[in-house]
C-alpha cells in the first residue's frame, strides 16, 4: 500500500514537473531609453563628434550637448540679427572646425568658435533638402546638396579659406561648382568611398561615381522604387533607400551596373530615414517611432521590433547606443538583442 502511494506521488510529481510548457520566444530585440535630452524644440538631426552632440533642435535652433555629462554646452537660436528658422540638419567639419546647419531658409556654415553664427556664410536657397560635406585637408571643403525644386536638383561646390584683399581671410566659393537638373525633386544624399547616392523622390534612387573628393559626380544609373525615395544610405555592399509610405529597399551595388535586384522590406511602414551599423538597421518611422532590423543578410532583413519612442525624424549610432531624434528630444537608446 505504501509503495502504491509513493508511486502515485512520484507519478504526480513527474507529470507536474515535466507536464509544464515553456513559452515561445519571438526572438525580438528590445530597447531601453537610458536618457532623454530635452531640447525644447523638436530634435530633428544630430551629428556626433566624440561625446559632443550637435543637435538640430528645430525652432530651438542649434544646441551643443555633452552626451556623457548630459550638459548643454551652447545654444544658438539666431545668426547675426536674424532668427534661425526650424533647424533641420547639422554637420560638423572637424578638420576645418566648421559647423553647418540647414534651416528653412538655407544652408549656412560658420567657424565653431566664440563668434559662431555672428556672420555665417549662406549656401543654396530655401528649397534645400539635404547636404553632405567632405574635406581631406585643412582650408578646403566640398559640399554636395540637393534641392526639392527640380530646377535646382543636385548641386556641389568647393570652398577654400582664402585671403581676400581689404576683407581678410574668408571661405570663398571656387569656380568649379556644378549642377545636375533631374526631372524630379531630390531629397536625400549619401556618400561612401567612390559613390554618391541621391534619393530622387518619385524617380527612385540615383547613383553617381566620384573618383576623387571634389570631382563632379558621374552618373552611373537610376533605379526606380515604389513610392517616393526620401533618403538614402550607402552601406558596405549596397544602398538602403527610405521610401516614405512604401517602406524601404536594399539595393546591392551590383544592381546599378547589371541585373537589377531590389530587396524591399518594412513595406507597410512609413520610412523616413535609415541608419546602419554592423548588422543593425534602424528605421525612423515618424509617429510610429523606430523599427529595428537584423541585416546580417541585407538582402533578407529580419524584423526585430517596432519601438514607439515618440515621433522620430532620424537616428544615429553613437558608440554602442542609438540616438533617436524625436519630438520629445534626443533619446539615448540601448539595444538589447
Amino acid at each position: 500500500m505504501i509503495n502504491i502511494r509513493i508511486k502515485i506521488i512520484q507519478a504526480l510529481m513527474i507529470l507536474t514537473i515535466f507536464g509544464c510548457m515553456r513559452p515561445d520566444d519571438e526572438n525580438l530585440w528590445s530597447t531601453v531609453v537610458e536618457n532623454t535630452i530635452g531640447t525644447n524644440g523638436f530634435a530633428r538631426d544630430v551629428y556626433v563628434q566624440g561625446d559632443t552632440a550637435f543637435i538640430a533642435a528645430g525652432q530651438s535652433g542649434l544646441q551643443i550637448w555633452n552626451l556623457e555629462s548630459k550638459t548643454l554646452l551652447e545654444q544658438y537660436e539666431s545668426f547675426g540679427s536674424a532668427d534661425l528658422e526650424d533647424v533641420g540638419r547639422v554637420h560638423y567639419d572637424s578638420l576645418n572646425s566648421l559647423v553647418f546647419i540647414m534651416d528653412q531658409s538655407k544652408i549656412m556654415f560658420d567657424e565653431y568658435d566664440s563668434t559662431l553664427f555672428d556672420a555665417p556664410t549662406p549656401i543654396g536657397d530655401s528649397h534645400n533638402e539635404d547636404f553632405i560635406v567632405l574635406s581631406e585637408t585643412g582650408g578646403t571643403f566640398y559640399i554636395y546638396y540637393v534641392d526639392r525644386d527640380a530646377g535646382d536638383g543636385f548641386l556641389w561646390g568647393q570652398y577654400n579659406f582664402e585671403e581676400i584683399p581689404f576683407i581678410g581671410e574668408i571661405w570663398q566659393r571656387q569656380d568649379n561648382d556644378g549642377q545636375i537638373r533631374p526631372s524630379s525633386p531630390m531629397k536625400g544624399l549619401s556618400h561612401s568611398g567612390d559613390f554618391i547616392a541621391v534619393a530622387g523622390d518619385q524617380m527612385g534612387v540615383y547613383l553617381y561615381a566620384v573618383d576623387l573628393i571634389g570631382d563632379s559626380p558621374e552618373f552611373i544609373s537610376r533605379i526606380d522604387t515604389e513610392g517616393n525615395a526620401e533618403d538614402v544610405l550607402i552601406s558596405n555592399n549596397g544602398v538602403f533607400v527610405s521610401c516614405d509610405d512604401a517602406g524601404a529597399y536594399f539595393i546591392p551595388m551590383d544592381s546599378f551596373s547589371g541585373d537589377v535586384a531590389l530587396h524591399r522590406f518594412a513595406d507597410n511602414m512609413t520610412v523616413d530615414h535609415i541608419a546602419v551599423k554592423n548588422d543593425i538597421a534602424s528605421l525612423s518611422l515618424g509617429s510610429k517611432g523606430i523599427a529595428l532590423y537584423d541585416i546580417s543578410d541585407p538582402t533578407q532583413p529580419e524584423a526585430k521590433g517596432i519601438f514607439p519612442v515618440g515621433y522620430t525624424y532620424r537616428t544615429v549610432f553613437w558608440k554602442d547606443r542609438l540616438l533617436a531624434c524625436t519630438r520629445e528630444g534626443l533619446q539615448v537608446l540601448k539595444i538589447e538583442k
Binding site: 507536464g19 509544464c20 513559452p23 515561445d24 528590445s30 507597410n268 526585430k304
Partner: protein, 330 residues
C-alpha cells in the same frame, strides 16, 4: 493487499461529433462590418460561421487496491476540425488519475492539453503596422481535486489548478499563467437528477508583459471569477435518458490602469454560456447527445469603442454519438 492491474477490464469509448458555430472567430458586430471591407481579417475563412467535425477516443482503467479503494486512470484524445475556418484545426487530450477510498470520496489529479487553438487573425504590432498573422494558443492545465461526501445526497469538490496559456509566435505578448481555486457543491435530487453550484476564482498573470518599449507592451493580467450552475434530469424521463441545462458565467476584470492602454485599462467583461443538452441511450453501449450553446460576452470599459470591439454573441449546435466498449483480455 496487492495492485490488481489485470483485475478489471479496460473500458474504451469512441465518439463522433458534428457541429455548427455561427461565429467561429468570435467577431463583434463592429468587426463583422469591418471584415466585409477587409477580408484578410478572416484569415483563410470565407464565412463567419463554420461546420465542425470532431472525433474522440477515451480509455479507463480501474485498479482495485483494497476494499472500496480504487485507483482510476483515464485518458482521452479528441481532434476538432472547423471545416469552413481552415486555420481552426486542433487536438486536445488529457488524463485523470484518481484515488478513490469510498463513494464520493476521492482525490483526482487532472492534466489537460489543448493544442494550437486558433482564435483569429490579428495585426502583429511588434514588427508591422498592418500585417495580419494567425493568433494561436496552447493550453496546459494541471488540477488537483478532492471530493468529499457531505450527506447522503450531497458532496463537495474542492480543487486548485494551474493553467498555462501560451501563444505561438508572433503573439507571445498574450502569454498567461492562471492559478485558480475551485469549489463545487453537488446535490442529488431524488427521482429527478442532480444540481450543482460551482465557483472558480483565479488570477491570470501576463508573464510576457514587461515595461519594454513595444507597441504590444500592455499588461493583460486579470482577475477572474466563474460561476457554473448545471441542472441534470435523468430519472423518470420518457423516451430520452437525460436532459440538462447549465449556465456558466465568467466575470473578468483586467488589472491595467494605464491610460495609454485604452484597450485593457479598466476593462471588464461578463462571458455567459447557456447550455442545453438531451441524451438518448440507444443501448448500454451507444448513446446520442444533442447539445447547444448560446454565448454572449458583454464588455464594459470607459471607452465605447472598446465595449463594441470586445463584445460578441455566438451560437453553437452539436450532435454527438458515443460508443463505449470493454476490452478484457481474460
Amino acid at each position: 493487499m496487492s495492485l490488481l492491474l489485470g483485475g478489471t477490464p479496460i473500458e474504451f469509448g469512441v465518439s463522433l461529433t458534428g457541429g455548427y458555430d455561427n461565429n467561429a472567430m468570435r467577431f463583434s458586430i463592429d468587426e463583422i462590418n469591418e471584415a466585409a471591407q477587409d477580408i484578410e481579417m478572416m484569415g483563410g475563412a470565407k464565412t463567419f460561421d463554420s461546420f465542425i467535425t470532431k472525433w474522440g477516443i477515451s480509455a479507463l482503467k480501474e485498479m482495485i487496491i483494497g476494499q472500496k479503494k480504487v485507483i482510476k486512470l483515464k485518458g482521452f484524445l479528441a481532434s476538432s476540425d472547423y471545416i469552413n475556418t481552415p486555420e481552426k484545426k486542433y487536438w486536445s487530450g488529457g488524463t485523470d488519475l484518481t484515488y478513490k477510498w469510498g463513494p464520493y470520496r476521492n482525490i483526482k489529479y487532472s492534466l489537460r492539453h489543448l493544442d494550437r487553438f486558433y482564435l483569429r487573425h490579428y495585426v502583429n504590432r511588434d514588427i508591422t503596422v498592418s500585417d495580419l498573422a494567425s493568433c494561436v494558443f496552447t493550453d496546459r492545465s494541471h488540477a488537483l481535486t478532492i471530493t468529499q461526501r457531505l450527506s447522503k445526497v450531497s458532496w463537495l469538490n474542492l480543487g486548485a489548478g494551474y493553467l498555462q496559456r501560451y501563444y505561438s509566435r508572433p503573439f507571445t505578448e498574450f502569454d498567461l499563467d492562471i492559478v485558480y481555486l475551485k469549489a463545487k457543491i453537488n446535490y442529488k435530487l431524488k427521482n429527478i437528477g442532480s444540481v450543482a453550484v460551482q465557483i472558480n476564482q483565479g488570477v491570470a498573470n501576463n508573464i510576457s508583459y514587461s515595461s519594454q518599449i513595444r507597441p504590444s507592451s500592455f499588461d493583460r493580467s486579470y482577475d477572474t471569477m466563474e460561476l457554473f450552475f448545471p441542472l441534470k434530469i435523468n430519472k423518470n424521463l420518457p423516451i430520452i435518458s437525460e436532459i440538462g441545462v447549465s449556465l456558466r458565467a465568467e466575470f473578468r476584470e483586467y488589472d491595467a490602469e494605464d491610460p495609454s492602454d485604452p484597450l485593457h485599462s479598466g476593462r471588464s467583461h461578463v462571458d455567459s454560456k447557456y447550455d442545453m443538452w438531451v441524451k438518448k441511450k440507444l443501448t448500454d453501449e451507444i448513446s446520442l447527445t444533442m447539445s447547444s450553446r448560446f454565448r454572449t460576452r458583454v464588455t464594459e470599459s470607459e471607452y465605447e469603442w472598446v465595449d463594441d470591439l470586445k463584445s460578441f454573441k455566438q451560437f453553437q449546435f452539436w450532435f454527438n454519438i458515443e460508443w463505449d466498449m470493454i476490452y478484457d483480455k481474460y
